[in-house]
């Protein structure tokens, strides 16, 4: 059996499943710094990467971890880091460097409750907006939110595929409860796993940031005489700094458009009993599991409820939510209203909000109460 894809059924935590997903996706470089509740991702990578010819480095901090994976990605390796809130905050500047230089990497953020040190060992979902807006400037974010260890595996592969497809850092926005949850994870054989690899620039005379029709420029290899220059400064198609409004408009416009124009390719959600629902609960991550139970309980009580689960949080599925906006809405999340803002923007009305500051998942009854309030 090959070491890179551990085909079969396993009993894994979400953190470990994410690490296995990364390896299955072809990740061969990991740089990270220990932080609860994500350390198990690093621990698994430390053990597993050497077995598959990969490099693991425990860096001196999260700033270094993020910088190191960008360097490794330019070195031609699929690279990942994993962290939680405080470390995610520290990574924000180089997350921006990744966006600006169009560097494919994956950042796993196993969310805990903040702000600051907050509840290091306990659940939070408060980094939704940070994942979208955490680094300065104008850009589009891609963030996925798994609800189970199986999805941690599947979505880490998808995160790499999106990173490689769009040449952009992609965030796997897990949460502590999913990260520490143990469940069956089925790892399929290699031929059943779809892998996307970055386009490689072959023509040395082509400008390195000249995009293809899909607005994504092929990535030049290093050490092969291309003589590329890569900078976090606003740059022209040659990659050279160009400090003016015109280049800013063109280049930053493109790195936004390359995602905006293809957002439909990325957007992903699950609809559970939504068709005839009079009230729809929007949730993601561990909260979606409580919400699913609440929907079933509501149905048992004669309320036609449904669940709209965000599998991809960014880009946000505004179009679909707008189509459903004739229904009543409940938003449940472990923060004080982050996805809520986007839902209300899409449905153009208020939703009932069932929030928690963090520390524990919702009880289904808490969400059920929200459903009952929405249909009152």
């Amino acid at each position: 059996m090959s070491k890179d894809i551990l085909v079969g059924d396993h009993f894994l935590s979400g953190d470990v499943a994410a690490a296995e997903g990364a390896i299955a996706a072809g990740c061969r470089f990991f740089a990270g710094y220990p932080i609860t509740p994500s350390s198990e991702v690093a621990e698994r990578m430390a053990r597993r990467l050497p077995e598959v010819g990969g490099i693991f480095i425990q860096m001196e901090d999260e700033l270094a971890s993020m910088a190191a994976i960008l360097g490794a990605s330019w070195g031609g390796r699929k690279a990942m880091t994993a962290t939680s809130g405080p470390g995610f905050s520290l990574m924000m500047e180089n997350y921006g460097l990744g966006i600006m230089t169009e560097t494919p990497v994956v950042i796993v953020n196993v969310q805990r409750a903040g702000p600051s040190t907050g509840l290091p060992t306990l659940l939070g979902q408060g980094d939704v907006m940070q994942a979208r807006w955490g680094t300065h400037g104008s850009y589009q974010a891609i963030a996925l939110s798994p609800e189970s260890p199986q999805e941690c595996f599947d979505m880490t592969i998808k995160a790499f595929n999106l990173a490689e497809r769009f040449r952009q850092p992609v965030i796997l926005l897990m949460d502590e409860s999913v990260g520490h949850l143990f469940e069956r994870v089925t790892i399929p054989p290699k031929e059943e796993i779809e892998i996307v690899n970055r386009k490689i620039l072959k023509d040395k005379n082509r400008k390195i940031y000249e995009p293809d029709e899909d607005l994504v420029p092929p990535m030049p290899p290093i050490g092969e005489g291309f003589g590329i220059h890569v900078t976090g400064l606003t740059h022209d198609e040659r990659g050279y700094p160009s400090i003016n409004a015109e280049t800013q408009e063109r280049m930053i416009g493109r790195i936004n458009d390359k995602i905006r124009k293809y957002a439909d390719e990325i957007v992903d959600y699950e609809e559970f009993m939504v068709d005839d629902a009079e009230v729809i609960v929007v949730a993601y991550g561990i909260t979606a599991r409580s919400a699913r139970r609440a929907v079933i309980m509501a149905r048992e009580n004669g309320i036609k409820a449904g669940l709209f689960r965000l599998k991809v949080i960014w880009p946000f599925p505004s179009k679909r939510l707008e189509e459903l906006s004739d229904r009543e809405f409940v938003v449940a999340e472990v923060n004080n209203g982050q996805a809520l803002v986007e839902v209300e923007r899409a449905i153009k009305k208020r939703a009932v909000f069932v929030g928690k500051m963090g520390g524990e998942p919702h009880k289904p009854q808490e969400i059920l109460k929200g459903i009952e309030e929405a249909v009152k």
Partner: protein
Amino acid sequence: MSIIKADTHPLDRYLRTERLPHVWCPGCGIGTVLGAYLRAMEKIGMDPEKSIMVSGIGCTGRAAGYVRMDSFHTTHGRAIPFAVGLKAARPDLNVTVFSGDGDLFAIGGNHIIHAARRNANITVVAINNFTYGMTGGQLAPTTPETGITTTSPYGNVESPFNLAGLIAVAGASYVARWTSLHVRRLEKSLEKALKKRGFSFVEVLSQCPTAYGRRNRMRDPVDTLKYFQKYAVVKNHVNPLEGVIEPNKPFVVGEFLDAPEEPTFEDKLWELTKAEFLHTSQAERSEWIIEHRRHLEVLSRIISGKGGEE
């Protein structure tokens, strides 16, 4: 005085000539150091196609934009970890970090000591102009005591880092310090640094007439060079801890440390991926690790001038 115009420069093949003129001020020392670096590269026959320059933010950080090799201009302070990641992923490439004192030792201070500790096989060229030039001349962790900067208008009350001492103690394999006046010797040191397997560090004291000299009675670039001429004492293999720089006092320049080569960080990371390492007992793995450990006790004796032998 006549102005000599030339269409070409001997180092043109290493430069993105289409990017010139550069951003540096008249009288700045960075060009002198970059010239020495490129000549050293040429001298040892280092293939620019297999060479990477990584820089951070600041005046020196802009060097990466002018060299005709794969080059990365990263974020403030993070050139080293970017380079460490790149070098670990691609040990076949020569990786140099070319950046300034503020970038490498203030905001990036944590990274450089860890890269030295790990003996990452990269070369770091640190141009120390005692200030933040790009942002207009603020206090740096290298500003001499009494130095006037825009954020130490009454004179710097802080003690500066002794960069050579700090990096030697952190575990570097090669440490030298020169000034923008000692171009030939600098070139020689850069040749050695580039050839060295392991973490090599070359500090170059340099003039910044615009942002630092102007406020510190060295308005003319030559004033700083004269200062270097007056106070720099060339001595090799002095204990780097004695490399402290005090205002208006002699200071040491030279090669502080040229340690025996030892396995690099990347050598060890890649060893971990080999089947014969993985599929043995932990006792044998530990044996390999001890066999390939860095001999910091030897390094300490060399640094303190007691010699490499017991």
